[in-house]
């Protein structure tokens, strides 16, 4: 038996492990089938803090976190901290400023809160538009991630990969709703964290002798020289003309702005917020935010260690070595086009340097995590496990986003605006149909990715920071905030954000993409489009507060609603204020 296992190749292992995990996800969804709209939208509202914490962590950690983040950091060095701090610090804001109060409010969606708190259908519509825009942007990227993993590890083409991914998500999201998704996400968290940590531990031991990657990356290189790994990498990087790894190259103000925008954006993302509607009590919402962040930080604190290991390994393997002596993984990744070597000076030796005119090797940053186990010569089953982990990360996030899209359509548009008399059964059917439609749209974008998918991720966070985050915070902490202020703030914040992205990311007003590089010098306050969400957020706050001063205060029942959500206790439903 053990002989059979040691002979199995990567592909067989991948088929086996992926098939087992998929069967598990489908089985869980059937077991936890949704039978009411409350099940479908918020898993019946009875999820335990630990289950919700695990589900939130899986929901949050996408294909990008699993596959790309360590790679991005390994190329960005210190600058990669914007993602590490931005995507975790947001949970502090979420746990302290949003989650407990939204749980007390106790409805189904983020537009529910905006619509009720600001006693206005228009406010609800703005929130729906924003939720749909953010979620579709995000979900297209996840489907693409599924396609890439399938094509690399199972050698099917990307389209087939996306279609398989769609079928799986469709099945368990449509049947299980939020209830099914919650428990598949729990399973997916276990798969993805195991798949991320095991190779990291192996490589850490190989390179530094420490079993804990977080320590290994501050430790000494395992060759008896007594040199610290980070010092070695700083040295290698500067030798090749790159910035020292621990220094980075972005400006201070931009680092500050990007981190803030990602934090506020994280706290304002509807698919994350809605997870806190699924727990039973206010205290469970607080606790499960803590658990979620703890589980996320296990991966996020390992990623910068993996980045350093992978970067050092990569430079040592390829730099100034003959092309003919490259290991097997090198040619395998060349086939995918994610690794390309052009022998510019025809000496048969790989020159990997900062200087564009002399550099001969282009490395796609997504390789760093996916190829890492192969580069470190880990066993085949481990390589297959990484594929299953990447799929778990992509599918869990995609499913969470599809829930937001389907609830926005069936609950916020159909039930609350178009046809308030729809029956419970009709609404549940509408929710399932809109989930199906959303999967189809997401799949289409996964197969035909618009060139702007990567670019609009900045927009998704920026929009969440510029619209939801201030509107919800003010709705809870400022009783006097009224619909005029909130709507004006959201609209102006969103428009400014979209304008800035169009101008500086797409060069729309200056003759297209080619102009983008030159426009760098005219960034407002030296802030990149990625960081502009923080400015747009401030604009929203200022506009909201100014408009509020000149318009009437909210009606008494809304002020009572605010008093009510500030205090935990009592499972009684809060009466929805009238639309005035």
């Amino acid at each position: 038996m053990s002989e059979l296992f040691s002979q199995m190749d990567v592909q067989t292992w991948t088929y086996l492990i992926v098939a087992i995990t998929f069967a598990l996800y489908i089985g869980i969804a059937i077991w936890f089938k949704a039978s009411s709209t409350k099940d479908f939208y918020v898993a019946g509202g009875g999820v335990s803090p630990w289950a919700n914490g695990m589900a939130t962590a899986a929901d949050w950690m996408s294909a990008a976190s699993f596959i790309s983040m360590a790679g991005i950091i390994s190329f960005a060095g210190y600058d990669g901290a914007v993602y590490l701090m931005g995507w975790t610090g947001g949970y502090v804001l979420l746990a302290l400023l949003l989650a407990p109060y939204l749980r007390k409010f106790g409805k189904f969606t983020v537009p529910d809160f905006i619509g009720d708190r600001y006693y206005s259908k228009n406010a609800r519509m703005v929130a729906v538009a924003c939720a749909l825009l953010v979620s579709f942007t995000y979900v297209a990227g996840q489907m693409r991630g599924v396609g890439i993993v399938f094509s690399r590890f199972l050698e099917v083409d990307i389209t087939t990969g996306v279609l398989i991914g769609m079928a799986i998500v469709l099945f368990y999201a449509v049947i299980g709703g939020m209830k099914g998704i919650t428990y598949t996400q729990v399973a997916q968290y276990c798969v993805l964290i195991f798949a991320f940590m095991v190779p990291a531990v192996f490589i850490s031991i190989q390179m530094t002798g420490h079993a804990i990657p977080q320590l290994g990356f501050g430790g000494q290189v395992n060759d008896g020289s007594g040199v610290y790994l980070l010092d070695k990498l700083d040295g290698l990087s500067t030798q090749l003309g790159f910035a020292a790894y621990t220094e980075g190259s972005k400006s201070l103000v931009d680092i500050f702005a990007i981190t803030l925008a990602l934090m506020a954006g994280t706290a304002g993302l509807p698919h994350v917020i809605v997870r806190f509607f699924t727990v039973k009590r206010v205290r469970d919402a607080r606790k499960s935010a803590g658990i979620a962040l703890l589980l996320i930080v296990i991966l996020y604190s390992t990623a910068p260690a993996v980045a350093v290991f992978a970067r050092t390994n990569m430079i040592e393997t390829v730099s100034n070595e003959p092309y003919s002596e490259m290991p097997e993984w090198f040619s395998k990744w060349e086939l995918t086009g994610l690794l390309t070597f052009t022998d510019k000076n025809h000496d048969g030796i790989i020159q990997y340097v900062q200087d564009e005119t002399q550099n001969e090797l282009v490395i796609d940053r997504d390789i760093m995590v996916l190829a890492n186990p192969e580069i470190a010569q880990l066993p085949n089953w481990l390589i297959a496990l990484v594929a299953a982990g990447a799929l778990a990360a992509a599918l869990s996030t995609a499913a969470g986003l599809l829930m937001v899209i389907s609830a926005s359509v069936s609950h916020d548009l159909i039930k609350k605006i178009i046809n308030p008399n729809i029956t419970e059964k009709g609404e549940l059917m509408a929710a399932r149909l809109s989930a199906t439609a959303a999967v189809a749209v997401a799949g289409y974008f996964g197969i035909n990715p618009p060139g702007f998918v990567a670019a609009v991720v900045a927009l998704a966070f920026g929009l969440a920071a510029a619209s939801f985050f201030p509107a919800i915070i003010l709705g809870i902490f400022h009783k006097r905030m009224n619909k005029e202020g909130a709507i004006a703030g959201m609209v102006v914040g969103m428009v400014t954000m979209i304008f800035y992205i169009l101008k500086f990311k797409f060069g729309v007003f200056d003759g297209g993409k080619e102009a983008v590089g030159a426009l760098k010098d005219s960034w407002w306050f030296g802030i990149s489009p990625e960081g502009f969400g923080s400015i747009a957020m401030l604009i929203n706050f200022v506009v909201s507060l100014v408009v509020m001063r000149f318009t009437p205060p909210p009606p008494k029942d809304v002020q009572e609603l605010v008093e009510n959500i500030r205090i935990p206790g009592g499972e009684k439903d809060i009466p929805a204020p009238q639309v005035h």
Binding site: G218, L230, E563, G569
Partner: protein, 87 residues
Amino acid sequence: MPMNDPEKQQAYWRENLRYLVILLTIWFLVSFGAGILFKDALNAFTMGGFKLGFWFAQQGSLVVFVFLIFAYVFLMNRLDKKYQYDE
């Protein structure tokens, strides 16, 4: 004390806000402070192979964030009990 006593609600809310200010100040100091604004100054110190500013930016802040949320959970559970708002 009745559940909906406005004075009691106000007192509870004020204590909650005080916790928020303290915890969010720490949140700001470790991430935007130690990890970004004072990174270069802190990099003069090392901890094992880590320059201190770099460590705060890529490791330390994340760990402090987790502690902050659990501190808030602890403080608020105590506060809920004190005001009999625990469920």
